[in-house]
Every structure is written in structure tokens, then in C-alpha cells.
Symmetry: D2
Subunit: 158 residues, 4 copies
């Protein structure tokens, strides 16, 4: 059986020459991610960040995306992306994610895309944790905070 | 290193209990493929068929998608999809593709999506082979036709 | 103020030379609907059909997409699309929708895309009406059935 | 006939209570822009910015997107987006675009989304002007620069 979208941890990423991240996955560019300029559209990178983020949330225990009462709704308040080089059909890449800073009901994540040993794009996102119905802020689950600190070296702010 | 989007041949597919196909790949449902009903949107399946089709074209030698003079432009003339069961976030699946019938400058493909041992969706597409500039019909490359017959058991029509 | 995505009824469509439909809207091709071949990707047409379908459901009273107990979940069981000519950036078009056949808990819709006085694509879909939680079939709302018959000339099957 | 995606100039935007922009268009949220949380996905806003940007490029004469020798390839080097409130199915909005700063072969744009008299999101992008084959930087067309200064009040940097 073919493994795919398998989570890459710090050791697996370091074996690929990627330092500073403890969460990622490998994938390939698909035809639907190209635009009329025949390279990967800028929004596709944000989809990759999203896929990494959703996997990260579940892996670190921030949210199970169950829409149930135990699971906060995690929304993007701000995001940015920087593009270093165009990417093309079938190109293999690794996308990584980590948390840099944790606040009581929000946190700042960083993402990067690597291909052929070079960083092709990077980004960050300010994530806000809301009640499942979106009605107000929600504190993070302590075990998730512990993992963000331990695995990513995330800082904690007041 | 994580293998991913690795081509599954007839033997690999049969090992997964999938009969009758000689080309496929494994993947997982991503967040961006869900819609507001919280299951995979019907168009996402057509994206999977497209990803399988583009890989198939390159693997069988029908087109390298180079936009150069040697490569026909392969366009969808007709397609259909049938949906048997909803699919959800993170669900693992295998999508397969094969050619059923070959005509001088077109061919009919079939696709299927399998998850947990059951077919979740199937589809077909009538593909037309055009000159690279779209100006007229283009005959298939003989070696590609040979592979479609040998691997898929495709029939040839006048 | 600019009107946009305004529902076109039978009279408005006939004024555009489109016969046989009582529901549609006008729009223009956007950059993100193009693919690497620099024309509208085949799945974008299915997005247009979807947008027309969701508007139609609300306009005819089949579902308010409220996810509440009164609103059936309408899912696509089968769909097809036929493509007659490529479409390009900024191209203006009208997409139309109608119901051809009504069954107790399902119905068959037809869609078409018109540009420059010609049909560029057509499609159909078998829609199934489920309980809001997807647990079983749900009968259509009588007032919606009445509108499908009156406006579209839909046939009713046992 | 229904007008749609009609360019809104400064006067038309001011009539809607939107100050400081000379280019925009009105639209409505579509079903495919929602995600599993049942609100507009964060990447959809970037699609709206892209649609506004491509229209702006053509309207201001920066590029005709012809892929010909006269038309630079305009690529996103950096972008950001800030989200103030969730948006929902069928919601009407206006998206606007302007250039803030012009450099010899790049420029900085700003975007905003307005609904019900409030700004729902804003963003910016650093655009780089390349030769049509992507081989190197390309100076802007003088008439486009003149329009960015006159219409948007863009500043010119070294």
C-alpha cells in the first residue's frame, strides 16, 4: 500500500534537510493548482498551508473539527504569504507548519514550502480560537499548548 | 522519505482488492474539498478524476503537457459522475482510471473512487485529442494506444 | 449600484434569445476559472451549474440551505456535462437551470451555458432530497413542486 | 439584460459609502466559496482580490494578459489578508483595489471587501512585473503608471 500525506515529524524533516519544523507532509503539484500562467497559483500555497494547519490542529489536539461542544472553531484572523520561486506541474514539495507564539485565545503559526532543497514560499497566520458557535473567545486546550511548546518551541505571551 | 501520489499499477491495486484497473493513486480528503454540508463536494471528485487523468496521460505517453508541437491538447468533450456515498475529512481513498474505447482522435475513459473496500463514486469522460493550438483533431501516439490496449484492455473502434 | 447575479426569468432569458428556461443568471469568466491550457477548466462549468442550482433551490422553495429541520439536504446523485466550445478570460455568459422530471424524493435538472448566442455547454443532474441529517429520503415541499411544474413545465413521475 | 461585474469607479464607490478607492466591483457569495464551517473560506477572499487585480491590470493598462511580447507577466511576490467578520451564502459585497506605491518594476496594491457598510476584510500584495517568459524584470507601461497616479493617488518610489 502507498503511504501518502503521512505526517513528517522533526526527525523525518531533518532527514530531508529541513530544520526548525516538527510537523509537515510531502505532496506533489496537481494540474488544478496551476493557473493560466502555467505555474502554481498563489492561492494554492494558502490551500497547502490550510491542509497543514488542519492536520496540525488535529495532531496537536487543538481541535478535532467535530463541530461538537468540545471543539473550538479556529479561524484565520490574518495571514500572509511570500513567494520566492514559481512551482510547476508534478513538482514534489514538503509543506511545514509550526506555532511561534501562543496567546490566551489565539496563536501565531508559520508555514513554509520546500522543493529541491530550497524554500519556495513561506507564510504566517494569526489563528483565533472561538466557541463552537463562534459566539466568543475560547481558551486553548492545555495539552495542545504543552505540545506546541514542547515540539515547536512556541513562546507563551500574556 | 514519504512516498505519496505514487502510481499504483494492476498488481498494487489488486492487493487493495480493486479489480479491473491498471492505474491509480491513493490520497486523503483535504479540508478544502469539503463544502458547507461538511462532506466532499461533488466537484472535488471530478478534480480527482482530472488528477488521475493527467497522470495517466503522462504515464501512458498520450501527452507530456509540454504545450510543445509534439504534444496534443487533450480536452474533455463529455463527462459524467455517479455518487454512491458521502465522503469526509481525512478519509483515505484510491482513485483509478482506465480507457475503455479508443477512436482515431478521441477515447473514452472510466474512473472510480474506492474507500474502505467500497466504490464511493464512478465516472467517465470522452477525451478529444487536438493539435497543440487547438486547431483540429490529432491522431494518438501509437505507443500510447499500444499501452492502453495492453494495460487496460481498451477496445479499438474504427 | 451595480446589479449582479440578478435572477433572470423566462422573459428576461427570451429577450437574450434563450428559449426553454425560466431561471438563470449572467456572469463573466474569472481568472481563477482558467487552467494551464488558458481556457475555462471543465470543472468550472460544474461550479456554475452548482451556483445556478443553489439559487434555483432557494428561489423555487425547495430548500433554504438553513441546515434546520425544515430544510432537506439536497445532494447530487449523478451529473453529466457536455462541452461544445472553449471559453476564455472575461467572456460573458448566461447559465440556466430547469427541472425536467420530478420523482417523490428526487428530481432531474438540466443546465446550459450560453455565450455570444450559442450554447457552449450543457449538463444534467439527478438530485436527491434527504432529511437534514442525511438519514433518509425526504419528500419535496408541495409549493416547490408546483413552481417546478408551472415555471419549468416539469413532468411528474410516480 | 443584467449588468454584472461592472467596474465601479470612484464616483460609483462613493455613492456606496466607500471612500479612497477608484476601482471595484460588486458580487455575491457563492456556495463554492463556503467551507465546512459554513462561512466564506479565507482563500476565497484572495480569489476576490485576484479577480479585482486582473480586472484592474487590464483597466489601467498594465497588462492585457495576452501572453504576447508586449504584455508583462505580473506575479505576486508577497500578499497578506486581514479578516474582520465572517461572511455567508448569498451575501452581497463590493471588492476594491488600488495601488499605493510604484517602484520601477514592482508595485504595492491594497484591497478591501465591504458588506452592509462595513469593511469585512482587507489585504495587500507586492506585484512584480516580469518579461513575458519570466526571464527578468520589466518596467511598467508609462500610461499605466500615469493612471495609477491620477486615479489612485499612488506614490512613486526610486
Amino acid at each position: 500500500m502507498t503511504p501518502y500525506l503521512v505526517t513528517l515529524d522533526r526527525a523525518a524533516l531533518e532527514a530531508q534537510g529541513i530544520e526548525g519544523f516538527a510537523y509537515g507532509f510531502a505532496d506533489r503539484v496537481r494540474f488544478y493548482e496551476l493557473d493560466a500562467l502555467n505555474h502554481v497559483n498563489n492561492t494554492a500555497f494558502l490551500r497547502w498551508f490550510e491542509t497543514a494547519r488542519v492536520g496540525y490542529m488535529q495532531d496537536y489536539g487543538l481541535s478535532g473539527y467535530s463541530h461538537g461542544p468540545d471543539d473550538p472553531q479556529l479561524v484565520v484572523r490574518h495571514q500572509s504569504a511570500e513567494y520566492f520561486a514559481p512551482m510547476h506541474q508534478n513538482e514534489s514539495y514538503i509543506v511545514t507548519a509550526r506555532t511561534r507564539l501562543i496567546k490566551p485565545s489565539s496563536f501565531i503559526m508559520e508555514y513554509a514550502v520546500f522543493s529541491d532543497g530550497a524554500m519556495r514560499a513561506r507564510g504566517d497566520a494569526v489563528m483565533v480560537s472561538l466557541a463552537p458557535d463562534g459566539s466568543g473567545r475560547r481558551a486553548h486546550k492545555p495539552e495542545a499548548v504543552a505540545r506546541m511548546i514542547e515540539r515547536d518551541g512556541a513562546e507563551v505571551a500574556g
